[in-house]
Symmetry: C2
Subunit: 335 residues, 2 copies
């Protein structure tokens, strides 16, 4: 039988290309895209190979991220208090824009960084922006991470904070948001709550969520080296996935939530960009939610790389992205 | 002054890559992606250079598209009647799924093809699918095209049909939909109606709409040769844009609707894919609508190329895309 359907699937050759900074975005985002093009890229042979080497790598990267703190503080005034909730390190951020009339509502932020990066002072960037644009207090969770604390430490920490925060508060008045690994962890937390029969958050905001740590998403290939922030799954992505998943493996639904069942999930807004290496993770999770009957909304920003709405915080596109998220929370949270 | 903001913007180098067919889509869509990888691509030196050469090129392409007719007829049973409305050639398609209880509602389809291709029998593919999934009668408009009839012939024909269809019918019960140039033309028609002070359609469905014929969208570069259907703006896209725009130029809002004002537009659903060369056109138009306060919704399908939901009509992803569009019309149309 010469059956076309039995023929091997053909690959597609895409030639090398030079991407100019597009004129279709704001000057601020144009500058961010240009800066990302100039940034050094991590080569395969620069990847840490031992836990000690990872700790050193993380230390340098986190110090760079934390250095943005004073700039964020000047642009987005807030007070912050480091404390512990249920034994988990958190930073409580109260924005100058805080609206006491909405004091019943609170947000929990789960930061990004591949379950390896952005601990400590580096963990609060997205939380500060979320607090500023929503006028709500944000509890930023400095959850334990790989390589020292692989899965399920992050889920356990998020769950412990969730239980404590909702002990004396309507869970429907609490929103959870996160980007990249933080988006994946937001979904994993909600799957975990569902499996425990606990009340779910009132709404979720998933910023370019890392939902498929197996690397199967099409954009891992299509947007490799197109994305200026998360340039290559094959270099650092796959390594962090393995460090985090540990014995559970990358197909566990609490590690890769795309393999979970989103039925019964609260309303959710997804945010990504056209250059995002996790564009496919985002649209696949969005589609799975729609298919499960969830009131989900998708926002895709022109020419944005992975999580760039956090780093290009001076751009109108960042204000739009966080404005959409804030509006979505206020439209859907109780209280 | 050594001001970073005054430095030239940096370009980004993306190496050549081989794209495998992803496992994250249905077997039917996998086969479609593979078939597109095997299809010959149009080289720059194969572009027609004269009106006569264009007519010959169009004749071959349209015959190929029309050859799908019997397959579509078998899979999506319907009756079709070629006729004229207000002097414009149209094909009225009544699906076997037609629901007389919804007989007050009707859809107008404006086909794609860069304002050059898909005339005559080749014009009805999307209309047949839209009719099948919505259960509504669809009037497919075989509007005049370049090179013989450049802008504003297409807008004039769409407007003439609109006036006639709504002469004895509530305009809010009429939906307009189209893909690629047909999506752009749907927006141009609505802009034109607004400028004339006429009632607008009840809802719009914009499939990967061609809204920026200047070629500025970032995905024209990022998804060049990634997209298996519209592989390169620089080859055929730019040529068709020039043929169509003629003396008006590509920045006229009725040629490139991204330069128009969408304030007051009816609810609109946008459909695109992660490999789509018009991904940026789609998300830019969606964003402009949201900024104008329109109730817009965005759907992005994993690994889909430009308009592939029409051509991969045997895939569940195509059924999902048209199902979303049908649901959107029924949620928003009067009648």
């Amino acid at each position: 039988m010469d059956d076309a359907a039995s023929q091997p699937l053909a690959t597609r050759e895409v030639p090398a290309k030079t991407l100019a900074v597009p004129t279709t975005v704001s000057p601020q985002l144009q500058r961010s895209i240009s800066n990302l093009a100039l940034a050094p890229r991590l080569a395969m042979d620069q990847l840490p190979q031992t836990p000690e080497a990872w700790r050193a790598f993380v230390s340098v990267a986190d110090a760079q991220a934390a250095a943005l703190g004073p700039i964020l503080e000047a642009l987005f005034p807030h007070t912050r208090t480091w404390t512990q909730i249920a034994g988990v390190k958190v930073c409580e951020i109260t924005p100058a824009s805080h609206d006491p009339a909405r004091g019943d509502r609170v947000l929990i932020n789960l930061h990004g960084g591949g379950y390896v990066l952005n601990g400590g002072e580096a963990s609060t960037g997205e939380a500060i922006l979320g607090a500023h644009y929503s006028g709500l207090k944000v509890i930023s969770v400095d959850y334990r991470m790989a390589p020292d604390h692989p899965f399920p430490a992050a889920v356990d920490d998020a769950l412990a904070v969730w239980r404590a925060v909702t002990a004396d508060r309507d869970p429907a008045s609490v929103g959870v948001f996160g980007t990249s690994a933080g988006g994946g962890l937001t979904l994993a937390l909600t799957l975990k709550l569902k499996s425990l029969g606990l009340p779910l958050p009132g709404a979720l905001a998933l910023g370019t969520p890392w939902v498929d740590l197996t690397g199967a998403s099409d954009s891992y290939a299509v947007n490799a080296e197109v994305d200026g922030i998360f340039s290559s799954f094959d270099s650092i992505g796959k390594a962090m996935a393995s460090l985090y998943a540990g014995a559970a493996g990358v197909t566990d639904p609490l590690v890769s939530p795309i393999f979970g069942d989103f039925t019964g999930f609260p309303p959710a807004i997804f945010t990504t960009g056209t250059r995002d290496i996790l564009l496919s993770d985002t649209v696949r999770a969005y589609r799975a939610m729609r298919d499960a009957g969830v009131a989900a909304r998708l926002e895709v920003h022109e020419a944005m790389s992975h999580a760039e709405y956090i780093y290009a915080f001076d751009s109108p596109e960042s204000a739009t992205a966080f404005g959409d998220i804030a509006d979505f929370f206020h439209a859907n949270l109780a209280g």
